[in-house]
Amino acid sequence: MEAEAVTSKEASSDSIAVQITGMNKWYGSFQVLIDINLTVYEGERIVICGPSGSGKSTLIRCINRLEEHQEGTIIVEGTELSSDLKNIDLIRSEVGMCFQHFNLFPHLSILDNCTLAPIWVRKTPRKEAEETAMYFLEKVKIPEQALKYPGQLSGGQQQRVAIARSLCMKPRIMLFDEPTSALDPEMIKEVLDTMIELAEEGMTMLCVTHEMGFARQVANRVIFMDEGQIVEQNEPEPFFGNPQNDRTKLFLSQILGH
């Protein structure tokens, strides 16, 4: 396992997937993100962790413009995020996202959940979209649920469908916002396995998660955030073995301590 993880970790290239420079964001008068600078290369897997309220969700939601930033630049796959609606839709179709609460569409079957965006955004013919959907549902190991509705699936299954739904758009970057924190331990493993598989195939990933085992195994870099700032970032080995900042030390001792 270790060897495999190491080889896949070297897969990152030199071309840039996401570049954030000097980004600041406020909610009203409260500054959530302070001077964020972050470069993510194609094929990199980044894990973002930090205490609750530190701005992790806000940061990755800025990357597909679910939240708007006020200062600085964010360039995703060569396109700068501005208030130009065309750019936003373009970037959103290149960036997949998985949410803590899955957010599947309850009125559509699993298959229709997966084909909706390819058909209406990418204009893929229905038949082809369904084939792609079945391919990815097989990949997340639930092809037999294709005709059910989200309400009939377990949490872990729903999250895997959500991953498959994003993958159907053939995104170049995947964002995960605590994809396992609403799940029971048993289901956490099945979702993490899916994500590990995705990582091994070289997908560019930004994951907000507290699953430190996952971080050690697949991340190229771990980013620690506190009070809206990036406090420390490093490769997993030194990050966990030899944290520098006191806040990081405290956080890691709390999360790994017991």
Binding site: N64, F105, P106, H107, A117
Partner: protein, 433 residues
């Protein structure tokens, strides 16, 4: 003492569920007499039903169907069932039912509203039941023009000419879209269609009519009445108020300040004003604002007012549905790259409307019953006709029979709508959320 340890040696097989069939006595014990309170309520309710039936039945049954006046009725009933018997005088319905249905519509043209009604059901079927072939929706799309033409008559070329307006709009839209982009296309297309309808429809229809006369006898609005009038106003109002209401609800939630203010202002104004005042505005005031000589049909004015009125209510019902959706649904749609209209149409509205079905149908039922208010501005809907009939010397003094009849017919329509909404809710049920 028994040991706490337990190891199953053999797995038990699953069994079919226990039978729920408990026979009529068991059913009654469980549902009607499960407790003292329940038994008392059951008995009281049965007594209530019994007395209501006992007091109404003789009046309903010991009745006269054949007389030609109220006094005739009374004599016939006294003769048949003895002096002093109270009985219903159904003869008035027998004599006037055609008027109650069609108002003063020309008798030899009754087939036109009849055909329009049959075609209405054909047009509604594919809208209401998704299992029917989707191609039938084309008929539903053309029906509004066809149905209104059947009712009011006139040259058939008007229908063709109006439909041609859509074609004009679409042509301009595609051309402009290719040259200047989506926004210009939509605006230009809509503008072209409206201009065509306002300026050219009549002329084009007249020209075509001069070449090939094709049409049916026109019927003026003053002859419309009875249930035909209620249904015309009700169905048109329902069909128009749903889309307008949805747009108003979306507008009210919009980020665009102007759009939002207009929608909020409209909704709050219309909801704050009684329908009756709107109808009075339609019947009297509007004429003052119109250029002199314009003949703006009264029924059309009423339909517009009724539509505006109920679309404000629909908007609020739909807004409730929109608010009930978790924010995650909007975010997931955005994250997948769906634009505003697509995410509304494919993700948000199907769910919001499903939640709003009971409220929407209530509003429709209310609208349909409110069509009886038009009797106040002099239109001869069933209630207006009832007043006219009661003013007739022959039927002076008759009350119950007419209103029971009207109530029964309205009940059938409204109950059907209510049942349909329950069917729809059941059908759209998908899992536990």
């Amino acid at each position: 003492m028994e040991s706490a340890a337990f190891v199953r040696t053999e797995m038990a097989a699953a069994r079919p569920p226990p039978s729920m069939d408990m026979g009529p006595v068991g059913w009654m014990r469980q549902n009607l007499f499960s407790s003292w309170l329940n038994s008392i309520l059951t008995i009281l309710a049965l007594l209530g039903i019994f007395f209501a039936l006992v007091s109404a039945a003789p009046w309903l049954i010991q009745s006269s169907w054949t007389a030609t006046s109220l006094n005739g009725c009374r004599e016939a009933i006294a003769e048949a069932y003895g002096e002093g018997t109270h009985g219903a005088c159904w003869a008035v319905i027998r004599e006037r039912y055609l008027q109650m249905f069609y108002g003063f519509y020309p008798r030899d043209s009754y087939w036109r509203p009849n055909l329009a009604l049959v075609m209405l059901f054909v047009a509604l079927a594919p809208v209401l039941f998704t299992s029917l072939p989707r191609r039938m929706l084309w008929f539903s799309a053309v029906y509004p023009f066809l149905g209104l033409w059947l009712l009011w008559g006139g040259s058939f070329w008007i229908v063709i000419s109006i439909l041609f307006g859509f074609f004009v709009g679409y042509a301009v839209l595609t051309i402009l879209m290719r040259m200047f982009g989506q926004l210009a296309g939509v605006v230009g297309g809509a503008l072209a269609a409206v201009l065509y309808w306002v300026i050219l429809t009549g002329t084009v229809a007249d020209l075509l009519h001069a070449v090939i006369p094709l049409g049916i006898e026109p019927v003026e609005s003053a002859r419309f009445g009875g249930f035909m009038l209620s249904t015309t106003i009700g169905v048109t109002g329902i069909a128009c108020s749903l889309p307008i209401g949805i747009l108003l609800a979306l507008g009210r939630k919009s980020d665009l300040l102007i759009v939002k203010s207009i929608c909020v202002g409209f909704i709050e104004f219309v909801r704050g004003v009684p329908l009756i005042t709107l109808l009075f505005v339609a019947s009297t005031l509007l004429n003052i604002f119109m250029p002199p000589g314009t003949n703006f049909d009264l029924i059309l004015r009423v339909v517009i007012m009724v539509t505006l009125f109920s679309s404000a209510y629909i908007a609020e019902v739909v807004r409730g549905g929109l608010a009930s959706l978790p924010r995650g649904q909007y975010e997931a749609a955005d994250a997948l790259g769906l634009d505003y209209w697509k995410s509304m149409r494919l993700v948000v509205l199907p769910q919001a409307l499903k939640v709003s079905i009971p409220g929407i149908v209530s509003t429709f039922i209310g609208l349909f019953k409110d069509t009886t208010l038009v009797s106040i501005i002099g239109l001869l809907d069933p209630l207006g006709l009832a007043n006219a009939i009661r003013a007739d010397a022959n039927w002076n003094g008759i009350v119950w029979e007419l209103y029971v009849f009207i109530a029964a017919l309205f009940f059938v329509f409204c109950f059907a709508m209510s049942r349909y909404s329950m069917y729809l809710e059941r059908k759209l049920q998908t899992g536990h959320n």
